[in-house]
């Protein structure tokens, strides 16, 4: 099991190899990256197997007193900073394992898909290099057993996303999006880093387990614990695009679509959720105030994003905002102690969202069109894509027996159990809206009559189809993992849990309610967008002002833009001017100049006339005599 470090290392190794030798290798060395991630996937299964039959007796393994799950920890020394030793350490527990599985699998799928999608791109090799670096960073992130390593991986994820979003940097919009993504997340990272250092200051080590011990054992004061948790959560908000840091994610679609799939589903954004889950002991220490913050932020994010998704007209934007809202749901669930539910939804959503993006990608690939207004009835020309997309959509929309339904249901259960009624109401509204925009995206794009100019459109090639198909299967059936099956497997709750293991429980009224809402909204969508029986115009008319606000994404971008232009840049300009005009020209130059002027003035005392010279001597003499005299008497 201690060979788990191989999983990221494969990918780390692949990246430089492709960069250096890529041009000389067949297929620009893309296969290297696929081999690496594939190897990672294989190793994952090996590790998974050995974890399943591992016990606290196994070397490096023990039962964590926080999660009560089996945990294995392996460390190698990295370097010494004076008296502080920093380590490479990997920690393997159920959370890590499922994340490993998700990342390796989705990344593998996306890369295979990319073979087709990115075919013929001039920077094909570079693409795959960064891709595997991305995956490697994410894998390290989930494997890290100390905050320092986690932060390292965290930053690497950020920079890779920068590179991938800005992949087509010839497009200014792509450049801007990449910069935005990096800087916005970086702001969150400041919080994360401060939080980490704060923990270190208290604990004297970066090891997570020690920090958890300190938090739960009360060695760390409540104030500090809360502060640390909030700061960590800042980082998580940045990465997981929670309000108000969500602005970067929708723009991130400037990158190639597979990249969006990876970012939205498996790597970048889930990092935040993962961090909160990982640091759950700190969040839940004392009376868990931080979790309330998490819940609120998650709820707000989910609501806001889903409303925007309802009115967005760009397919990828719809998906992006749906991601945000689902991340909000995960946070909400975590904030409601729904540890298992959050992770479960993370997985389910990951598969579904990856599928959806790949689908959207294949649509875009063949139509070069993203505005759903101009699309329609694509089912006829690209049936496979339409089919898998629909599966993803209804799964995410929460139609029963598909995985999305189960995971969302678990979240609702958690919320209704631990938080007051307001939360559950808004959560249900969010669920409804997510069903609605999913239905909207799906029906408008693929159903109804084929819009003109789309006749020549062809379906996805094999290299793109296969990954979509595989993902579709998972998106459909993954949910069944949540049941207690006959045999010794009783529900995912018995595998991933915080505190006590719990089996599968189903709250009937919630389940039926959400099911009804989901089905209803899909029927509504069918009527509205396919049959056009219902016209939304009067609705739009009544809600016009609200709609305007929503369509403008609540003016977040505008505000930020204003701050950057009017505040930051102006301020830095002022400082720069100050440096040149004040510090340099006044504080520095003027003494020097005054020296020179003084010299030029003083030189006039050499008048060139002997008698003034002698006069000076005499005055000096008198001065000497008198001065001396005064001194001596």
């Amino acid at each position: 099991m201690e060979w788990a470090w191989l999983i990221p290392v494969f990918c780390f190794a692949a990246a430089p190899l492709i960069v250096i030798f890529g041009d000389r290798l067949p297929g620009k060395g893309a296969f290297l990256s696929i081999l690496a991630i594939g190897g990672g996937f294989v190793v994952f299964w090996v590790v998974f197997g050995s974890f399943l039959d591992a016990s606290p007796a196994t070397a490096g393994c023990f039962t964590s007193e926080h999660t009560e799950t089996l945990t294995c920890d392996y460390q190698r020394s990295w370097f010494h900073a004076a008296d502080l030793e920093l380590v490479w350490g990997i920690l393997i527990d159920p959370l890590t394992l499922v994340m490993l599985g998700l990342v390796t699998f989705v990344a593998l799928m996306v890369q295979i898909y990319s073979l087709g999608y990115m075919h013929g791109d001039p920077k094909f090799g570079w693409y795959f290099a960064v891709h595997s670096l991305f995956a490697a960073a994410m894998l390290t992130l989930v494997l890290a057993d100390n905050f320092l390593l986690l932060y390292v991986a965290w930053e690497l994820v950020g920079i890779c996303s920068y590179l991938l979003i800005g992949f087509w940097h010839e497009r200014p919009s792509a450049r801007e999006a990449a910069k935005k993504a990096f800087i916005v997340t970086r702001i969150g990272d400041v919080g994360l880093l401060i939080g980490i250092l704060l923990l270190w200051r208290e604990v004297g080590s970066f090891s997570m387990s020690e920090a958890f011990d300190a938090a739960s054992s009360g060695a760390m004061s409540e104030g500090v614990t809360t502060a640390a948790a909030i700061l960590l959560f800042l980082g998580a908000m940045g990465k997981s695009a929670q309000v108000p840091f969500h602005v970067w994610l929708p723009d991130a679609m400037e990158g190639p679509t597979p990249v969006s799939a990876l970012i939205h589903a498996a790597t970048m954004v889930v990092a935040g959720v993962y961090l909160v889950a990982r640091a759950f002991p700190i969040f839940s220490a004392y009376d868990a105030d931080p979790l309330l913050v998490v819940a609120i932020v998650g709820l707000v994010t989910a609501l806001m994003a889903s409303t925007i998704a309802l009115v967005a007209t760009d397919l990828k934007r719809i998906l992006a905002y749906s991601t945000i809202s689902h991340l909000g749901l995960m946070m909400l669930s975590l904030g409601a102690f729904g540890y298992t539910a959050a992770v479960f939804h993370l997985l389910a959503h990951g598969f579904a969202k990856a599928l959806l993006f790949l689908g959207a990608g294949s649509v875009m690939h063949s139509t070069d069109e993203l505005d759903i207004g101009r699309m329609g009835g694509l089912r006829k020309v690209m049936p496979l894509t339409a089919f898998v997309f629909s599966i993803g959509a209804i799964s995410l929309g929460g139609i029963p027996i598909l995985s999305g339904f189960w995971s969302k249901d678990e979240i609702l259960v958690a919320v209704s159990d631990h938080r007051n009624v307001a939360f559950i109401v808004f959560a249900l509204i969010t669920a409804l809206m997510s069903a609605l925009y999913m239905a909207r995206a799906m029906f408008i794009t693929f159903y109804g009559q084929l819009s003109q100019g789309m006749e020549h459109v062809h379906d996805a090639p094999l290299r793109m189809a296969v990954p979509m198909a595989l993902l579709a299967v998972l998106a459909a059936v993954f949910g069944f993992l949540s049941f207690n099956w006959p045999g010794d497997y009783d529900g995912i709750g018995s595998f991933i849990f915080f505190g006590e293991s719990h089996g599968f429980e189903f709250t009937w009224w919630l389940g039926i309610l959400s099911a009804v809402m989901a089905v209803g909204s899909f029927i509504f969508g069918w009527m509205a967008y396919v049959q056009a029986r219902i016209s939304l115009d009067n609705v739009k008319a009544t809600f016009a002002p609200v709609l305007k606000v929503v369509e403008n994404k609540y003016y977040f971008d505008e505000v930020y833009q204003w701050v950057v232009d009017r505040v930051v840049l102006v301020f830095s300009g002022a400082i720069a001017w100050f440096d040149r005009a004040v510090v340099n020209d006044i504080i520095v130059n003027s003494p020097a100049d005054s020296m020179r002027r003084l010299g030029f003035t003083l030189r006039l005392h050499i008048t060139g006339h002997v008698y003034s010279y002698t006069l000076a001597m005499v005055l000096g003499t008198i001065g000497l005599g008198i001065f001396w005299w005064l001194r001596s008497t």
């Binding site: 502080l84 450049r175 800087i183 401060i194 840049l569 830095s572 440096d579 040149r580």
Partner: protein
């Protein structure tokens, strides 16, 4: 200790000087041969510094390669005594590397390149000397020797630039730099004399750092004395370290200086100041240091933020980098001012990594400027499509400077933060924010200059020469290596930091 170890440092200092003398007698009509010879000399010093660094026994620790030559005996007691510890060893290595790189990329300098290399080697020898000196006089001696050539190096081979609103001539830059640094050394000089007087009042008139160190350990230096002398050292050396508000010489000097000089200046010269604060200020006047640290660390924080913010709105590549070095030297100063082992170690590591990093940046800017004849961010664009390797290296350097993990900058800054968190929490938070600001201007720079489509006017640009690629590549390698596995440096630095008093 073998004979080599006894002579090593002396040879190390002597090699560049002798090289300079040798070059002086080369016929000036054959610049190529002069360049080859310089490469040879620099190579020898590089190898020497590598050997010395490798042979430094970090298990034993303390000062090694000790050697003392009598210079002036009583009543002044000045000896040329050399020796390095864990703090100076990496810096010596740094100087060897940067000097070699600088000489290599000075291939493009053909105008009076004999004088150029002579002065360059004088500078290099001075830097080696400062890091190796164990005697106040000689530390100061080499310190000034390192400053001395800058005037001509910038004045003769530099470039004047008109920024529309204001003008920066190379004469101005050179004179300003020279006067600033000498002004700083004026304070240092006074302070040294004060220390000497105090010591001779204590009955031990001596300049040897070892003697003085033991003197201060035995509490011979009164607190009041330390309190008024330390600021002299602090500001005097701080000027060379780009301490705010005495930093303005640095960006202007960069803008005026030729590539190799910028590399050495930002890469090594600015480190002398920080090193001086550690070696002299901290070692001799721990009490004064203790009392003045709040001021110093505040100034350091100002450096970080101020440098970063003013770098944001610069339009000249070299100005951006110049201000970024001001900001990064701020981390060094903070690390020193923490008086915390981790912070100090971070400071030393930051010196090394920033040395390599900023040298790399200036190298690449030089490569660009050499072809495009402009450094204006608003004019340059889309270079990555014309100069792929150069842009890639620049990106790496930029990422290193914004503290991307996996590159050396991160480890150093992280340690500085750590140390600061243990001592000055609020300032530490500011510093972390400063690190985020770095990202802003670096990305702005990358986006404006390197990414995107390039104009027609940059059609002619080609990628850097083999030499530039080679040097740049090796610098990148160092950045990555230190970032991934800092232990080889850290274990040396640690033993150096451990013995510092007052930590």
């Amino acid at each position: 200790m073998s004979n080599f170890d006894e002579a090593a440092l002396f040879i190390l200092i002597l090699v560049p000087l002798l090289g300079a003398v040798l070059i002086m007698f080369m016929p000036k009509e054959r610049p190529k041969d002069i360049w080859y010879l310089s490469i040879f000399v620099a190579g020898v010093s590089l190898v020497l510094s590598l050997i010395i660094f490798a042979r430094y026994d970090y298990d034993q620790g303390g000062f090694q390669f000790l050697r003392t030559f009598d210079w002036i005996d009583a009543p002044l007691n000045i000896d040329l005594s050399l020796g390095i510890d864990g703090i100076s060893a990496p810096l010596i290595l740094l100087n060897g590397i940067v000097l070699f790189g600088g000489v290599l990329v000075s291939q493009t300098i053909l105008h009076r390149n004999r004088d150029f290399f002579v002065l360059l080697f004088a500078l290099g020898a001075g830097v080696f000397g400062v890091f190796a000196a164990r005697d106040l006089f000689f530390l100061f001696f080499f310190y000034e020797l390192a400053v001395l050539p800058m005037y001509l190096l910038i004045g003769v081979w530099g470039s004047s630039t008109d920024f529309g609103t204001f003008l920066r001539t190379k004469e101005y830059g050179a004179m300003k730099l020279m006067l600033f640094l000498i002004a700083g050394s004026v304070l240092v000089w006074i302070a040294i004399l004060a220390v000497y007087v105090e010591a001779s009042d204590a009955g031990v008139p001596d300049f040897s750092l070892t003697t003085l160190g033991s003197l201060s350990e035995s509490g011979q230096f009164s607190d009041t004395f330390q309190n008024w002398v330390f600021p002299l050292f602090m500001i005097g050396f701080g000027v060379l370290a780009g301490l705010w508000p005495f930093h303005t010489w640095s960006p202007d000097g960069h803008v005026a200086a030729p590539t190799a000089v910028s590399m050495l200046h930002a890469g090594v010269l600015m480190k002398l100041g920080a090193y001086g604060i550690i070696r002299v200020g901290l070692t001799l006047l721990p009490e004064g240091a203790d009392n003045w640290m709040p001021v110093l660390i505040t100034l350091g924080t100002v450096n970080v933020l101020y440098g970063a913010v003013s770098a944001m709105s610069q339009t000249d590549l070299k100005y951006v980098i110049g201000y970024s070095s001001v900001s990064h030297m701020g981390y060094v100063i903070m690390g020193i001012a923490t008086l915390d082992r981790i912070g100090m170690g971070g400071a030393v590591l930051q010196m090394f990594s920033h040395g390599i990093m900023t040298a790399l940046m200036f190298l690449l800017v030089g490569a660009i400027y050499h072809q495009s004849h402009t450094r204006d961010i608003n004019v340059l664009n889309g270079l990555s499509s014309r100069m792929r390797v150069t842009s890639f290296f620049f990106a790496i350097a930029g990422l290193a400077s914004l503290g991307l993990p996996g590159l050396s900058g991160f480890v150093a800054e992280f340690m500085v933060f750590t140390g600061t968190f243990r001592t000055y929490l609020p300032l530490a938070i500011l510093a972390v924010i400063g690190a985020a600001l770095t990202a802003v201007y670096i990305l702005r720079l990358l986006a404006r200059t390197f990414l995107g489509e390039s104009d027609q006017q940059w059609e002619h640009l080609t990628d850097g020469s083999v030499i530039e690629k080679g040097v740049g590549g090796s610098f990148v390698m160092i950045l990555i290596f230190v970032g991934v596995w800092p232990e080889p440096l850290m274990r040396v630095i640690n033993v150096g930091v451990y013995v510092l008093p007052g930590l």
